[in-house]
């Protein structure tokens, strides 16, 4: 079994916090990161019932900004969006100030190169800038691709020397309200700038657990103090990457490199919502022909959720029809602490994908019953606060 070995690994600004908390550190995308503190199941359940604190600084936050903005926020936003939109299928130009959008970086055949967040700055923030967050394992390739597309008109500036901290769970908003009252007013998929400890923190109401919560980009110099203050709250416990994975799996959220890759189209992956209406009508995104065809005619395979009887089916396990023919493969699977059973995501032909369809999985040479179910496995509890406007920078 793996021993602790973190000498050659990158450290996040919160490394000392993890060591002090006696976390079990593992190599994750080249970073020494906690897989667990007290235990995956306890941390998972705590996040669902109160609030979990996550170090996700391995991810790829960055800014793309016009070299010569005019200062007119709408005009500059349109200009920067025009540079970025050819890479993705989302409506970036249509973002309102402060709004965050989940979108997909696509190759020319409509295969998914990454899934990412793109946000328009809140009112009063930089003009002609976008805040993006990509996945850890893909960040170098993504940044190169985006940088090339920007040409001379704009530049990409990495922000992955900063800390990215997530606070997730039903108590997250109350905890944040005590520290940064304006942030607690945010609606799901919006972000704002707030002050903490003399530093500016970029905080979004978003996450990867299915719970209400926040993701914060924090300068490295302030990260430890913010983490310590959040962790000191009795409603908050630190949560490792192990529970982050079981939480996102229960929430039915795909993980790039496992459930999504360059062979997967947005329609196959059940991410058709990320292909924005304006972009569909203009058919002006990479792989538009395939994606629009799959949207009307149906894809060859689709992503499904499975309830599995018995042992968990892991990534790579074959999915069989009732006669025992291989029809697909599990792309993420494990034990659901909330449901107390094995669940999985995988791909099967569309005609086998209706909820209730009885299938099987092949585990260690034996078949186990599996049933197609709706995802998310555990309902999302996002907070869409329609009354509040996106927040500007802290006064």
């Amino acid at each position: 079994m793996a021993e602790r070995q973190d000498t050659d690994l990158l450290r996040t600004p919160l490394y000392d916090q993890h060591v002090a908390a006696k976390a079990r550190l593992v190599d994750f995308a080249g970073y020494a990161l906690p897989v667990q503190y007290e235990g995956i199941i306890a941390e998972h359940k705590w996040t669902r019932q109160s609030a979990g604190l996550f170090d996700v600084s391995h991810m790829g936050p960055a800014f793309v900004a016009l070299g010569s903005p005019t200062g007119d926020a709408d005009q500059d936003h349109h200009a920067i969006s025009t540079l970025v939109e050819p890479l993705v299928c989302g409506d970036i130009a249509g973002l309102k100030p402060g709004q965050v959008r989940y979108t997909l970086l696509l190759d020319e055949t409509g295969g998914i190169l990454d899934d990412l967040m793109i946000a328009r700055p809140p009112a009063g923030d930089a003009s002609g800038m976008l805040y993006i967050v990509v996945n850890a394992a893909t960040k170098d390739a993504d940044f190169e691709r985006i940088g090339k597309a920007l040409g001379a008109a704009a530049k990409l500036e990495r922000a992955d020397d900063q800390a990215l901290i997530a606070l997730q769970g039903p108590s997250a908003a109350e905890v944040i309200a005590d520290l940064m009252p304006q942030a607690a007013q945010l609606s799901f998929m919006n972000h704002a700038l707030v002050s903490f400890d003399g530093e500016v923190i970029r905080i979004a109401r978003s996450g990867y657990t299915g719970e209400d919560g926040f993701e914060m980009l924090v300068p490295a110099s302030a990260a430890g103090a913010l983490w310590d203050q959040l962790a000191a709250d009795e409603r908050v416990k630190p949560v490792g990457l192990g529970a982050r994975d079981s939480l996102r799996l229960e929430a039915g959220l795909p993980l790039y490199g496992h459930d999504l890759d360059a062979t997967t189209s947005p329609i196959e992956a059940g991410l058709g919502f990320a292909v924005s209406k304006r972009r569909r009508e203009a058919a002006d995104f990479p792989g538009a022909e395939r994606i629009l065809r799959e949207r009307t005619e149906g894809p060859e395979r689709v992503r499904i959720g499975l309830h599995i009887e018995g042992a968990p089916a892991r990534e790579g396990a074959e999915i069989l029809d009732p006669e025992g023919n291989k029809i697909g493969v599990v792309t993420s699977g494990g034990f659901s602490p909330s449901l107390g059973r094995a669940i999985a995501l995988g791909f099967v032909p569309e005609h086998m994908s209706d909820p209730g369809t009885a299938l099987q999985v092949l585990l260690r040479g034996r078949v186990q019953p599996a049933t197609v179910v709706e995802t998310p496995f555990v309902p999302h509890r996002y907070v869409r606060n329609s009354k509040t406007k996106p927040q500007g920078p802290a006064a």
Binding site: G39, G242, F335, R364
Partner: protein, 121 residues
Amino acid sequence: MTTKFTEDHEYVTVDGDTGTVGITVFAQDQLGDVVFVELPEVGRELSKGDEAAVVESVKAASEIYAPLSGTVTEVNAALSGEPGLINQDPAGAGWLFKLTVRDHAELETLMDEAAYAEHAK
């Protein structure tokens, strides 16, 4: 009664001709929360090193190898309803299966407690 250990972090406690097999405290700690256990059939003939059981944690499946050759006589039925016993009490209530020891000489190939403590450092 004597307890011996394998390099793969299984233990076997031998009392007469009966060996009780489980995983060590170190192993359960490395695995984390155990959520599912697959045990051998009673009557199965195991050779030393055979894959005998599977212990699943939230993250991964781990094969458990027979520390000694022998015939499976009993499995720990309590684990199907409460796999977490392996975390709580791996050397006691969290045992996996029992076998009749075929060849006591095989015990000499396993580590004693002091050697295992060094191995698990």
